[in-house]
């Protein structure tokens, strides 16, 4: 492991630990309004100041980081599972199944990702409880983000189907689900892990885009998307530089993800 990768892992770990400690570091919570100091600059009481309705920005950044960092992997899990199901099975079965899955994947990939995302998100109820909005947002990300991974997995499973050890297993009388689950799936694990890790930063970015467009996590729950939405009212960077903290944190976390993933994983 090289130095940059080590530093990236430490940064990711530190951000996760700090966000998990949000209850202790910001006991006031993300929704409490300090109505006497709305829109205040950083102070000892409010390290990053308060937003327009007096909520502590530091607390919101911590809780928002926690939500984004916990739910993006959950969405990645959903998309990787779907990719394994569609791509892995199609590659393993081959023939018409592989052609059908490839065509279906092509259909999905031919629609611009963000376009598809806002369409599906807008189709679902927008006036739901904050907790449900979080679930809906990340579940949609997971549900729609499987296509690229499925393409990679179907190619890997297809090559495994024709490999010597699978042919030998078939010759020994092994077939059907047992062959898939005992011999093919374990050999797809490295690709599955790579696809899982690659999907996390993609989903973090997508949630941020949705949040800024007002289709992400509902208020008062914070997420990186809803925190970045605050930039909309910014006139210049010099005016309130502390409002850029969520963006800097997002860049640091995503850069750390890039550095933490090896080249082999990024190209898998």
């Amino acid at each position: 492991m090289n130095a940059a990768r080590k530093v990236a892992c430490v940064v990711l770990l530190a951000v996760c630990v700090v966000s998990l400690a949000a209850d202790w570091l910001a006991p006031a919570g993300f929704a409490k309004q300090f109505r006497e100091v709305p829109g205040s600059p950083p102070s000892h009481q409010h390290l990053l100041g308060t937003d327009e309705i007096g909520r502590d920005r530091f607390a919101r950044v911590l809780y928002g980081t926690r939500i984004s960092l916990l739910l993006a992997p959950a969405a990645a899990l959903v998309s990787t599972f779907l990719a394994a199901l569609v791509g892995g099975l199609a590659g393993y079965l081959g023939g018409i199944w592989l052609r059908l899955a490839t065509s279906f994947t092509d259909l999905f990939l031919s629609l611009p990702w963000l376009f598809l995302l806002i369409t599906v998100r807008a189709l679902l109820p927008l006036n739901v409880s904050p907790l449900l909005s979080v679930m809906i947002t990340f579940f949609i990300l997971g549900l729609l983000g499987w296509a690229a991974s499925a393409r990679v997995l179907s190619t890997s499973a297809d090559s495994l189907r024709n490999s010597d050890f699978v042919l030998q297993a078939r010759a020994s009388g092994l077939d059907g689900p047992r062959l898939f689950f005992v011999h093919v799936l374990p050999n797809l694990k490295p690709v599955l892990y790579a696809q899982f890790w690659i999907s996390i930063p993609v989903f973090i970015l997508s949630e941020a885009n949705l949040g800024i467009l007002g289709l992400g996590v509902a208020e008062p729950l914070p997420s990186w998307g809803s925190l970045l939405r605050e930039l909309e009212g910014l006139v210049s960077f010099r005016e309130e530089p502390w409002r850029m903290v969520p963006l800097v944190l997002l860049i640091v976390v995503l850069t750390s993800f890039q550095l933490a993933l090896s080249n082999e994983e990024l190209t898998a």
Binding site: S110, L111, W113, L123, P125, L213, L250, L254, T255
Partner: protein, 288 residues
């Protein structure tokens, strides 16, 4: 062979566009609140007018019937009327498409110029610091959401196409840099250098032909990325293009508009990718 390839691509495009349109129409039809019509609560309309409006929308309830009617109309140049904007979809698309074409086109051109210049100069110059600069710059832009770049361009009074350029730049740079580095390491480049050929001649005669097929394929993909990015950029920068129209249609659950925008965007994406594939096929050296 080439003709067969073009026919196959066209057939695939027609199939995928039809399926994509049906998929988006089905999604909208199944969405909660589809039946709700704000005109029903408009006190200025009497019961008869409300009933007439409801009857006008009744055809959309059966998704297959709606889609068949849509296809029939499309063949005659009628793409329906937008519920939210109250205008024919065709005129909306004609009005908005040039804006997206201009913004995405200039953005793509700038992104390609910036990425190619950095990648080529990096390979020619071979300085670790310069390479690190290019990698860090592209890495930083990869980590910024398209919507944030749109907001930053509003704050800095920068044009929208600059945001699109910065969105496509990191993807092109990273791919182009890897391709060029691999091409420069090929034995025939070393032989050309040993024979005393200049760097410019090596680049244009010996490196670019090697990387051209992959770069053309990438060009097709970047069209899709630029169109996807046009949604937040046009919405947040106030540019009246297809991206903003898609955004408005999605929020208003405007079925005819959404289906048409979906079909148009899918069509352009597929045409770009298929065009790139046909060009790659044409450039491939023929076997003797």
């Amino acid at each position: 062979m080439l003709l067969w390839r073009i026919v196959r691509h066209l057939a695939a495009i027609v199939g995928i566009v039809l399926l994509g349109g049906l998929l988006s129409a089905t999604l909208v039809r199944l969405a909660p609140g589809f039946d709700a019509d704000e005109h029903a609560f408009d006190p200025s309309l009497n019961a008869e007018s409300v009933r007439a409006l409801r009857e006008a929308r009744a055809g959309e309830h059966n998704i297959l019937r709606f889609y068949a009617a849509y296809l029939r109309g499309a063949l005659h140049g009628d793409l329906g009327t937008s519920h939210a904007l109250g205008q024919p979809v065709q005129s909306l698309l004609q009005e908005r498409w040039p804006v997206t074409l201009r913004v995405a086109g200039i953005g793509l051109l700038l992104g390609w110029l910036l990425a190619s210049a950095l990648a080529v100069s990096g390979c020619l110059w071979k300085r670790t610091a310069y390479d690190l600069f290019g990698t860090s710059l592209s890495g930083a832009f990869l980590c910024i959401p398209a919507a944030v770049l749109a907001l930053l361009s509003v704050i800095l009074n920068a044009p929208g196409y600059l945001a699109i350029a910065l969105i496509v730049f990191p993807k092109i740079y990273r791919y182009a840099r890897n391709l060029l580095a691999t091409a420069y390491a090929l034995p025939h480049i070393t032989a050309a250098r040993a024979k005393g050929l200049g760097e410019v001649r090596i680049l244009f005669w010996h490196v670019l032909p090697v990387v051209a097929p992959q770069m053309i394929a990438l060009a097709g993909i970047t069209v899709s990325i630029a169109l996807g990015a046009s949604i937040p950029i046009e919405s947040l920068c106030g540019l009246p293009g297809i991206g903003q129209l898609a955004w408005q249609a999605a929020l208003a659950r405007d079925l005819p508009l959404l289906v048409n925008v979906t079909v148009l965007v899918t069509l352009v994406t597929l045409l770009a990718n298929s065009g790139a594939d046909v060009m790659v096929h044409m450039l491939r050296p023929r076997e003797a």
